[in-house]
C-alpha cells in the first residue's frame, strides 16, 4: 500500500536515470581495474626486463603499454561522462550536497591528472627516454591510481554512511568537518576491499590472456612470464580479500543494517538468523529455493548465534530496498562471495604446485580455470558494486536524501533518448576496443612466429636506438629481423 504511494510520487525520470547511471557506471568499472593496476604490472615487468636484461619481459611490457594506451583513453572518457552525469541526472543532489560529495572528487581529480600526465610520458617515452628514467617515471603511476581510487571511494562511502555535518534550517549542510566527511565509517572497509579487488582483477585478467595461450599449447617463455607475474599478484591477494571481505560484511551489518538485511534477504528481526545461500525473497517475507544454514548468519555477523539481525520488515517501506532490489542485492552478494572462494581455491592450487615442484601447475585444468579467472573477477567486481549501490536504495545519500528527491525532474523521454544514444555509443566503443585487441594480439603472434625463424639480435631493441639528434629518418627504430613497415611491432 505505502509502496504504491511512494512509487506513484516518484518523478518519472527516476527509472531511466537510475538505469542510465547504473549502465554507465557498470561499464566504466570494467575499465577501472586495468586503469589503476595495469601500470604497476607493466612497470614490474619492465623492471624484470631491465634487471635481468630480458628482452621477452621488455617486449611484454612494451606491448602492454600499447594496450594500456587505448584502454586508458576509453576509461578516461567514460569517467568524464560520469562526472557530468551527476549534473545531468542528479542536479538536486549536487546542489544540496555537492560541496561534501566533492571533497573526495577534488582528490580524485588531481590524482587523475597526475595519472594522465605520466601515462602520456610513460607510453610515449619508450622510444627516446633513457631506459632507467623511463622506468623511474613509470613508478608515479601506481600511487596516483591508488590516490584516485581513494578519492572516488571516499565520495561513495560518504553516500553510504554520511558524516561530518548537520543539516541547517534551509536543508543545506552546516558545521562541516572536512576530515570527517572524507573518513566516514564506511571508507576503511570500502577502500581496502575495492583496492584489493582491483589488483586481483587486473592480475587475473592479464594472466588469463596468457593462460588461454597456454591451454592452446603456446608454452614458451613469453607466455610463462606473461602469466606468472600478474597471476602471482592475484593469487597472493585472493586470501587477503576473503578476510577483508568478511570484515567489510560485518561492518555493513553494524553501519548499514538495511543493506545487510537485503544482502542476506532477512525479513524478520531475529537472533539465530540462518544464512540463506541463493534463494528468493517474496513479498510476503518468505524465502524460497535457497539453502538455509541455521544460525550461521548471526554467527558470522556477531560471532554468536544469539546475535540479533535486523530484518527488512523493521524498516518503513519507503526507507529500505524493495523486495526486488533486495533479491538483486542478495544474488549479487552471493555470486561475489562464491567467486571469491573459487579464486582462493585457484590460488591454493597455484601455491601448492609452487611448493611441490617450484613450477607452474602441470594440469591443463588449472589453466582452464585461470583462463576464466579474469572474467570471473570482473563479474565479482560488478556484483560487489551492485551490492553496495542497490543495497543503499531508495537513498542517494543514506538517511538524508532520496534518489527521487535528487533526480532531474525532466520528461523521462529525454533521459531514455540519452540513454539509448549512450548505449549505441558504448556498444560501438566496445566493438572497436575488442576488435582492436584481437587484431593487436593476432599481429603480435604473427610477428613472433616470423621472429622464431630468424632468432636475435633483438636484444636491447625494445627501447630502440635513440638518435639524440634528428633528423634521422631511416635510422629510426626499424625492427631488426622483423623487416618492413607493417611488421615488426613493439617487439622491434
Amino acid at each position: 500500500m505505502t509502496t504504491t504511494i511512494v512509487l506513484a510520487a516518484q518523478p518519472a525520470a527516476v527509472l531511466p536515470s537510475r538505469e542510465q547511471m547504473a549502465f554507465t557506471l557498470a561499464y566504466h568499472i570494467i575499465l577501472v581495474p586495468l586503469g589503476v593496476v595495469f601500470p604497476l604490472i607493466t612497470v614490474v615487468m619492465e623492471g624484470i626486463g631491465l634487471r635481468w636484461r630480458d628482452p621477452v619481459a621488455l617486449k611484454l611490457a612494451r606491448r602492454w603499454s600499447v594496450v594500456m594506451a587505448v584502454q586508458f583513453a576509453v576509461g578516461a572518457v567514460t569517467g568524464t561522462i560520469l562526472s557530468f552525469e551527476f549534473g545531468i541526472l542528479w542536479p538536486r543532489m549536487m546542489g544540496r550536497f555537492g560541496d561534501l560529495f566533492g571533497i573526495g572528487f577534488g582528490i580524485e581529480a588531481w590524482a587523475f591528472f597526475l595519472e594522465a600526465i605520466f601515462i602520456g610520458i610513460y607510453l610515449y617515452g619508450w622510444n627516446r627516454l633513457p631506459p632507467r628514467l623511463h622506468f623511474g617515471l613509470g613508478w608515479v603511476l601506481p600511487p596516483a591510481g591508488v590516490l584516485g581510487t581513494f578519492g572516488v571511494i571516499a565520495a561513495n562511502s560518504w553516500m553510504n554512511t554520511p558524516t561530518g555535518f548537520r543539516l541547517g534550517p534551509d536543508g543545506r549542510p552546516v558545521d562541516v568537518n572536512a576530515l570527517t566527511v572524507i573518513f566516514t565509517p564506511a571508507l576503511g572497509y570500502e577502500f581496502w576491499h575495492f583496492m584489493l579487488a582491483l589488483y586481483m582483477t587486473a592480475g587475473f585478467m592479464v594472466a588469463s590472456v596468457y593462460a588461454v595461450g597456454w591451454v592452446r599449447g603456446r608454452r614458451d617463455r613469453y607466455h610463462r612470464l606473461g602469466f606468472t607475474v600478474p597471476f602471482t599478484i592475484g593469487a597472493v591477494l585472493a586470501p587477503v580479500q576473503l578476510v577483508v571481505g568478511d570484515i567489510a560484511t560485518r561492518a555493513v551489518f553494524r553501519d548499514q543494517p538495511a543493506k545487510f538485511a537485503a544482502m542476506e534477504i532477512t525479513w524478520v528481526t531475529r537472533s539465530h538468523n540462518p544464512e540463506v545461500v541463493a534463494g528468493i525473497l517474496t513479498a510476503d517475507g518468505r524465502t524460497h529455493l535457497g539453502l538455509s544454514i541455521p544460525s550461521l548468519d548471526s554467527l558470522l555477523a556477531g560471532f554468536s548465534p544469539t546475535t540479533v539481525v535486523r530484518g527488512l520488515s523493521s524498516f518503513p517501506d519507503s526507507t529500505r530496498p524493495s523486495v526486488l532490489d533486495a533479491n538483486f542485492v542478495h544474488l549479487a552478494f552471493d555470486v561475489m562471495v562464491g567467486l571469491g572462494v573459487v579464486a582462493v581455491l585457484l590460488a591454493a592450487w597455484y601455491a601448492a604446485a609452487w611448493v611441490r615442484h617450484r613450477d607452474l601447475p602441470r594440469s591443463r585444468w588449472f589453466f582452464v580455470g585461470a583462463s576464466l579467472a579474469g572474467v570471473g573477477s570482473y563479474l565479482a567486481v560488478e556484483c560487489g558494486w551492485i551490492t553496495t549501490e542497490v543495497g543503499r536504495q531508495p537513498w542517494i545519500v543514506y538517511g538524508f536524501m532520496l534518489v527521487a528527491e535528487a533526480v532531474n525532474p525532466v520528461d523521462p523521454r529525454f533521459i531514455w533518448a540519452m540513454f539509448a544514444a549512450l548505449l549505441v555509443v558504448y556498444a560501438v566503443i566496445a566493438f572497436f576496443f575488442i576488435t582492436l585487441l584481437l587484431r593487436l594480439s593476432a599481429r603480435w603472434r604473427r610477428d613472433d612466429e616470423a621472429h622464431i625463424a630468424e632468432p636475435p639480435p633483438e636484444v636491447g631493441s625494445p627501447y630502440g636506438p635513440r638518435p639524440r639528434t634528428f633528423p634521422a629518418p631511416p635510422a629510426s627504430p626499424l625492427p631488426p629481423g622483423g623487416g618492413g613497415p607493417g611488421a615488426g611491432g613493439p617487439a622491434g
Binding site: 612494451r62 587505448v70 583513453a73 576509453v74 578516461a76 572518457v77 567514460t78 569517467g79 568524464t80 562526472s83 549534473g87 545531468i88 546542489g95 555537492g98 560541496d99 561534501l100 566533492g102 571533497i103 577534488g106 582528490i107 580524485e108 588531481w110 591528472f113 597526475l114 594522465a116 600526465i117 605520466f118 602520456g120 607510453l123 610515449y124 617515452g125 619508450w126 622510444n127 627516446r128 627516454l129 608515479v140 552546516v174 562541516v176 568537518n177 566527511v181 532531474n408 525532466v410 555509443v425 566503443i429 572497436f432 576496443f433 587484431r439 593487436l440 631493441s461 629518418p473 629510426s476 626499424l478 625492427p479 622483423g482 613497415p485 607493417g486 611488421a487 615488426g488 611491432g489 613493439p490
Partner: protein, 357 residues
C-alpha cells in the same frame, strides 16, 4: 575572510575553465583542422602530424574539464545545480561528442586503414566541432542571464539556443581552431615523420598551418567583436564589465595577443607565438569571467551566495595547492618532453600501425 576564500575558489574555477579552453581547445582545434582536411586520402602527412602532436597530451589536457566540473560542484553546489537544470541538453550533446571523440581518436591510431579508419576520422573530427561549441554555448547562456538560480527561468530550448549562446559557440570554434593551428605550426617545425619518405616536406606542413593560423586569429577577433555586440544587446551589464570594468585589461590583452600571433605568423617569425596564443585565448575567458564578477549567474547569483560550506572551500584550496605543487612540474615535464619530440607512440617501433601513416 570567507568572502576572500570564496573569491579564490571562484578564481580557481575560472582558471580551470580558461586553461581547459586553451589546452583542451588546442586539441579541439587540431580535430577541427583534421575534419577540414576532408577525405581520407587527402594530406595523410597532415593527419599524421595531428596524431603525433595530440596523442601524448590530449588526455592530460582533458582533465582540466573534469577538474572544472569538480571545483564547480564542490565550491558552488547551487551553481552546478542551476546550470545543469537549465542546460542539460547542451551538456548531453557535449558529453556524447566528448566520448566519441576520445575513443575514436584512440581507435583511429590503431585501426587498420580502410573503412574503419575513415569512420573513426570522421567521428573524431565532427565531435571536435560539437563539443567546444556546446560547452561555449552553455557559457553564453550563463552570460546572457538565461540560467536562473536554482532552476530554469526561461524555456529549455531558449536557454540552450539563443543569439549569445550561438555566438559564444562560434567564438569557441574560431579560438580553438586558432590555437590548434598555432600549436601545429610549432609541432610541424619539429616534426620528424616516421620512416617512409614523406610526400609532404616539413616546410609545407609549417606553411599549411601558418596560413590557417593567421586566418583563424583574424576570425577569432572578428567573431569575438560580433559576440560582444550580441551580448551587449542581451546583457549590457556583463559587457560593461568587460569593456569598462574589471574585464577590460583581459579583453585588451586577448585582442592584442591574438593579433600579435597573426602578425608573427604572417611574417614567419616563429618566436613566442605559443605563449601568446595561450595568453590570448585564456584572456578571452578571463575577460568574460571578470566582466560578470561578482556574479556567477549575472543578476541572479553572486559568488558569495553560491559558495558551499566554508570549511569545504578551504579544503578545496588546500587540495588545489598541494596538487598544484605536484601537477604543475609534471605537466611542465610532459610538455617539455613533448615539444622536444621525445614522445612518440609505443607502437611506432617498427611501423606497427598500418594506419594512415
Amino acid at each position: 575572510m570567507t568572502a576572500a576564500v570564496d573569491d579564490l575558489v571562484a578564481g580557481v574555477l575560472l582558471l580551470a575553465v580558461a586553461v581547459y579552453s586553451t589546452a583542451g581547445g588546442t586539441d579541439y582545434g587540431a580535430g577541427i583542422w583534421d575534419l577540414l582536411i576532408g577525405g581520407p586520402r587527402r594530406h595523410p602527412r597532415v593527419r599524421a602530424l595531428i596524431d603525433h602532436a595530440m596523442a601524448p597530451v590530449w588526455e592530460a589536457n582533458n582533465v582540466w574539464l573534469v577538474f572544472a566540473a569538480v571545483v564547480a560542484w564542490t565550491g558552488f553546489p547551487i551553481l552546478f545545480q542551476s546550470v545543469f537544470l537549465s542546460l542539460y541538453p547542451l551538456f548531453t550533446l557535449a558529453l556524447l561528442a566528448l566520448i566519441l571523440r576520445g575513443a575514436f581518436f584512440a581507435f583511429r591510431k590503431v585501426a587498420a586503414a580502410g573503412r574503419a579508419h575513415m569512420v573513426a576520422t570522421l567521428v573524431f573530427g565532427a565531435a571536435s566541432v560539437l563539443a567546444p561549441f556546446c560547452f561555449a554555448a552553455a557559457l553564453g547562456a550563463v552570460a546572457s542571464g538565461r540560467v536562473g538560480a536554482g532552476g530554469p527561468v526561461v524555456p529549455l530550448w531558449q536557454a540552450c539556443l539563443n543569439p549569445t549562446s550561438v555566438m559564444f559557440g562560434v567564438v569557441a570554434l574560431a579560438a580553438t581552431a586558432f590555437s590548434g593551428a598555432s600549436f601545429l605550426v610549432g609541432d610541424a617545425r619539429r616534426y620528424v615523420p616516421p620512416s617512409p619518405a614523406p610526400p609532404m616536406p616539413r616546410e609545407d606542413l609549417v606553411e599549411y598551418f601558418r596560413r590557417r593560423a593567421v586566418a583563424a586569429a583574424l576570425a577569432t577577433v572578428v567573431v569575438g567583436g560580433v559576440a560582444l555586440a550580441v551580448l551587449g544587446a542581451e546583457s549590457p551589464a556583463v559587457v560593461r564589465g568587460m569593456v569598462a570594468g574589471p574585464g577590460l585589461p583581459f579583453a585588451i590583452v586577448a585582442v592584442v595577443a591574438t593579433l600579435a600571433v597573426a602578425v608573427l605568423m604572417w611574417r614567419r617569425v616563429y618566436l613566442w607565438f605559443r605563449v601568446l596564443t595561450v595568453v590570448g585565448v585564456g584572456s578571452f575567458v578571463f575577460a568574460w569571467g571578470f566582466g560578470q564578477s561578482p556574479y556567477l549567474l549575472p543578476g541572479r547569483l553572486t559568488i558569495e551566495q553560491a559558495a558551499g560550506a566554508p570549511t569545504v572551500q578551504l579544503t578545496v584550496l588546500v587540495i588545489t595547492l598541494v596538487a598544484l605543487v605536484l601537477v604543475v612540474p609534471s605537466l611542465a615535464l610532459l610538455y617539455v618532453l613533448d615539444q622536444r619530440n621525445d614522445l612518440e607512440s609505443p607502437d611506432d617501433g617498427g611501423g606497427a600501425s598500418p594506419t594512415g601513416r
